[in-house]
Symmetry: C2
Subunit: 375 residues, 2 copies
């Protein structure tokens, strides 16, 4: 990791004529008008945000847009996962069309992953695809959901089941706004940052072990951690835009994590996504050790770091009762589909050496879960 950390960074997502920039640094919302005007032919935007973000940052954004001669309307939605629904999608589409956003204009998402996923979906379907700008305001959105073009809403049948691939034209990650994010949400996003190290960047994980307090504090180390994370995601997305292969690595910790989210009924008081991923990554490392793929020391090292930052790392850390191992296994099987008793899983040979294993015996996973979570 470089010692000289610049105040602003940029990462390019290479997707041919749909390539785009991610700008990372403090104060970017106040500069949004200039950055957008420099890239957009049109002079009209619709801004979608939520009720936590709006009082803090909407005015700054609107003023910056106005200063650059960009006409903007805004729509403020309730905060929270329930907003990723048809109920909210419909007014968002209406707002975009009502603002007469056309071919050269753009739709802007100002908020966390919920606003980004919903707004990106609306941008993807209005006029069969409209320009889209992400201004992610949570750490999770800055390092994960705003990059890569996956958009969507939830269905009564499951999370993220309805959506489209629709790449943004620009991502503005204002690292300053993370100061108002709750510690818990910041930590949850941090789990995804650590994930990039654990997938294939051992030195980055090592750097995080040394520098995580500086990342939490803000400033250069935070920018650096976000830039490395965005670069990691950008590389995977450029190589596998539609998640046919490599992109699956990004699911490290997510198979267990999703099962735990389902088991806690997506109740954010008990577990938020990043927390599930933290517990899930530890489980993935432990399971890899049990399969004699990695050393148990690596699992212990992963757990020690995540625990140090304040993340849950064991099933027992999750408040309330969890269903028995068999029920968790059912959730995993639903998420992943079992073929001939075998599962696809992201496993690891050590810190930063993860891989896609597509022949994991479901029976091994079940006995592992029973061991970890005895009734």
């Amino acid at each position: 990791m470089s010692q000289m950390i610049p105040a602003e960074r940029s990462v390019r997502v290479n997707l041919g004529d749909r390539s785009y920039d991610i700008l990372i640094g403090p104060g970017l919302i106040a500069e949004a008008g200039r950055e957008i005007a420099a890239r957009l032919k049109g002079r009209r935007v619709a801004v979608i945000t939520d009720e936590n973000v709006a009082p803090r940052y909407l005015e700054t954004l609107m003023a910056s847009l106005a200063q650059s001669g960009i006409e903007a309307v805004s729509l403020v939605l309730p905060a929270g996962e329930k907003t990723k629904s048809f109920d909210c999608l419909i007014p968002v589409c209406d707002a975009i069309l009502g603002a007469r956003i056309e071919r050269n204009d753009a739709v802007i998402a100002l908020g966390g992953g919920v606003i980004g996923d919903l707004t990106g979906f609306a941008a993807g379907i209005v006029r069969r695809g409209s320009r889209f700008i992400q201004i992610p305001t949570s750490l999770l959105a800055q390092v994960d959901s705003s990059v890569g073009g996956k958009t969507g809403i939830n269905s009564p049948h499951g999370k993220n089941l309805i959506g489209v691939f629709h790449q943004p034209d620009l991502v503005l990650a204002d690292t300053g706004v993370l100061d108002t994010l709750s510690q818990r949400e910041f930590r949850a996003g941090y789990a995804e940052v650590a994930k990039y190290g654990l997938i294939d960047k051992p030195e980055f994980f090592h750097w995080l072990e040394q520098n995580w307090q500086a990342v939490f504090a803000g400033g250069g180390a935070r920018i650096e951690a976000i830039a490395v994370s965005c670069q990691a995601k950008a590389d995977v997305v450029a190589a596998d835009e539609r998640e046919n292969g490599l992109r699956a690595l990004l699911n490290l910790g997510h198979t267990f994590g999703h099962a735990l989210e389902a088991a806690t009924e997506y109740d954010s008081h008990r577990l938020v996504h990043g927390e599930g991923v933290a517990v899930g990554m530890v489980l993935a490392y432990e399971f890899s050790a049990r399969m004699n793929l990695a050393s148990p020391d690596d699992a212990r090292r992963v757990e020690a770091h995540l625990r140090a930052v304040g993340l849950p790392t064991r099933m027992a850390d999750i408040p309330g009762m969890l269903p028995p191992a068999e029920r968790l296994m059912e959730a995993i099987a639903q998420d992943k589909k079992v073929k001939g008793g075998k599962l696809t899983f992201i496993l690891t040979r050590g810190i930063g050496h993860s891989f896609v294993a597509d022949d994991v015996p479901a029976s091994e996973v079940l006995s592992f879960l029973k061991e970890k979570h005895p009734q």
Copy 2:
């Protein structure tokens, strides 16, 4: 045109690894199970249809699917343009997810363009894109809407404003089912058939002038006309999937047509889409003559043919009052966007010699409309 007309035809839409077949012939619904089983890895489908089509053809389709070992669920929606709405999209998505349609399974649209557009959109967004089979049952759907991947619903702000490009994996055009289509709907679809001749197939238009009664009667001539139309649309779609250029030619007659649909408030008692296109094509030919691009004889020939089949060809043929020329002009400007007083229009140099003109003076269009439609 060939004299030996086979009982079944097929047209291939060339789109690289998303290429697909259009099969055209009588009795294809009864053979759907076999055709689908031969192409689909999965063994589960969800069939979406409407209340006019279901009592006539749903049982045949379900039986054919069952015979080929394909498990199917079905959903019957109200008929009519209002079905292209979020109100119907939501239950369609629900039905698809409830049927556990996965990567190798498929969603089937059995119906006219309304069911095709709505179902294709749902297939395009469930799991960010599911396999999709079109079984178009109206002439318009067989020769136009089922081919090319444009899907979508209407918004209070306008028609087809929300949707995605999502190509089908197979189109089964059962020409036998057109026998139960109302004469009026058949004629409306026929306007789009004639359109392909008028765009760039002068001999096809000539053939239609000779053979239209056989096309209306059914049998080989009908299959031939549908196959030529599908081939024409397939060629345009392969050359310009996302409508950036050439595909605009398919809008011959549609700029005037859409303005008339808007002027009649999409009231199908007064005007259905194909009727608007018929009047619009005559207007496009007349306007081209007025601009000294084509001979007035060509406009007269187009009108004579469309009138012979029973289509409206003049604004005065539309029942009820039309708004003044100025209001029609506003609708055109909304549809097309005026740049510096200039419009993009599909004009013609004669039968089968249409082209995209992007510098048509709006003032000329207005005085032409005033002439055609004096108050």
